[in-house]
């Protein structure tokens, strides 16, 4: 019998569950193999696994600090938004006035005024993204069938004709309790990222299923994949490898999924595309707060 009155077998089981959880969060095949070896080691010497993995502790601490920073930013983002929108309003209204007044002037003048307007639109978009990230509205939960919901998201995404969409969907519904608007945003972001990664040509495989009491939806593209050094960064705000965009899509997606009690993970290797998998708790019979 070990400490806390647990048997050796119970201790092995608990540690195996914890390590399997760590394995789920890992992103590369090499890590999976490493964890498997550890499992075998733990089965022989369970006491060794009780030493905390400092790398995992550090990651958890970084995530906690990020959430705290976002919460602080959220308190001020409404005021920041207001303070920025007002001068942008003056710039936009002056540009509009000049465009109307000078509508018969030369093309160069109109071009400059158009640039002013489009830059104001971009800045306004950044402000709205910041608000979306830091001031997410309270979720309005409804029961959703992921199969129907994701089918709709794919249709609404207007995927280019050169992107083949392969659907591995179950025959029966996969029910979750989720905020329709927020979850819709998650899937739209992931589909848009996949299409952009493939430069408008390739195969997007979408699979839906259930595993261990959780709903799973995965999106696999045939793009160039994600560089190993970027794997930890893609969920950070302002990180983007795209020519356009400010890198809020995936941080917002992760925030939404985690607020729904789920996790989002990615697997990728250069030249082998990327798979984003979203795990969500399966829907209960009754939904609170609807």
């Amino acid at each position: 019998m070990t400490g806390e009155g647990k048997t050796r077998e119970q201790l092995i089981d608990e540690v195996q569950v914890l390590l399997l959880r760590v394995a789920e969060l890992e992103r590369s095949e090499a890590e999976h193999q490493r964890i498997e070896k550890e499992l075998q080691q733990v089965a022989r010497f369970p006491e060794l696994a009780l030493v905390p993995d400092t790398a995992e502790v550090k990651k958890a601490e970084e995530r906690r600090l990020t959430v705290e920073r976002l919460a602080t930013l959220g308190q001020f983002s409404g005021d920041i938004s207001h303070e920025l929108r007002n001068p942008l309003s003056v710039i936009a209204s002056s540009a509009y006035y000049l465009k109307t007044r000078l509508k018969d002037s030369d093309e160069k003048v109109r071009e400059h005024l158009d640039r002013i307007q489009s830059s104001v639109d971009k800045a306004t978009g950044v402000i709205q993204s910041l608000l979306d990230l830091t001031q997410m509205k309270k979720s309005q939960l409804t029961r959703l069938d992921l199969v129907a919901f994701i089918s709709e998201a794919i249709t609404m995404a207007a995927v280019p004709v050169r992107v083949k969409v392969v659907r591995n969907f179950p025959q029966s519904a996969v029910l979750v309790n989720a905020d329709r608007e927020q979850l819709g945003m998650v899937f739209r972001n992931i589909i848009a990222n996949a299409v952009e990664a493939m430069a408008g040509r390739g195969t997007l495989t979408v699979a839906i299923g259930t595993k261990d009491g959780q709903a799973e939806a995965s999106f696999t593209d045939t793009g160039p994949g994600i560089l190993a050094e970027n794997m930890d960064k893609i969920f950070q705000p302002f990180f983007s490898t795209k020519s356009k965009g400010i890198g809020f899509g995936l941080p917002i997606a992760r925030l939404v999924v985690e607020r729904h009690g789920g996790i989002i993970e990615v697997m990728s290797a250069p030249g082998r595309g990327a798979t984003f998998t979203i795990h969500l708790p399966l829907g209960a019979d009754k939904v609170d707060g609807v």
């Binding site: 938004s81 929108r85 007002n86 942008l88 710039i91 002056s94 509009y96």
Partner: protein
């Protein structure tokens, strides 16, 4: 000759107020400005306007508070609210109180001008009331 549409623009940002006045005057509307709710009520006491374009959040007296009084003083005046606080609860309150629309800042002037043309069209077909 039909009378020009009269518009009162109320905003504590002087530059924005002046810009909106300039844009609307290009469309041949008759525009007066006020810098807060209180000043706007003093102006409305002297004369009626077809439309009031009002910032939702202002010092001294905010837009919704002012709007409710405007509605009592001039029930035929249309009111469009403007706000830099998108998604604010005041937006819903303004619409529930009867505001014609709540527009975000930076303002979409094409949308504003289309709304104004709708108001004019409605007034010209309204046989019962209005100016």
């Amino acid at each position: 000759m039909p009378q020009k549409l009269t518009i009162l623009v109320v905003d504590d940002n002087d530059e924005f107020c002046q810009n909106v006045k300039d844009v609307l005057e290009l469309e041949d509307y008759q525009v007066t400005t006020a810098r807060d709710g209180f000043q706007s009520l003093l102006i409305l006491k002297q004369r009626e306007f077809d439309l009031v374009l009002m910032d939702l959040r202002m010092p001294v007296m905010d837009g919704v508070e002012t709007f409710k009084i405007v509605k009592e003083m001039s029930p035929n005046t249309s009111v469009i609210m403007v706000t830099a606080f998108i998604g604010d609860d005041l937006n819903k309150e303004a619409l529930q109180a009867g505001a014609r629309a709540v527009l975000g800042k930076p303002m979409d002037f094409d949308k504003l001008l289309a709304l104004i043309r709708q108001i004019i069209a409605q007034r010209s077909t309204d046989t019962g009331g209005g100016r």
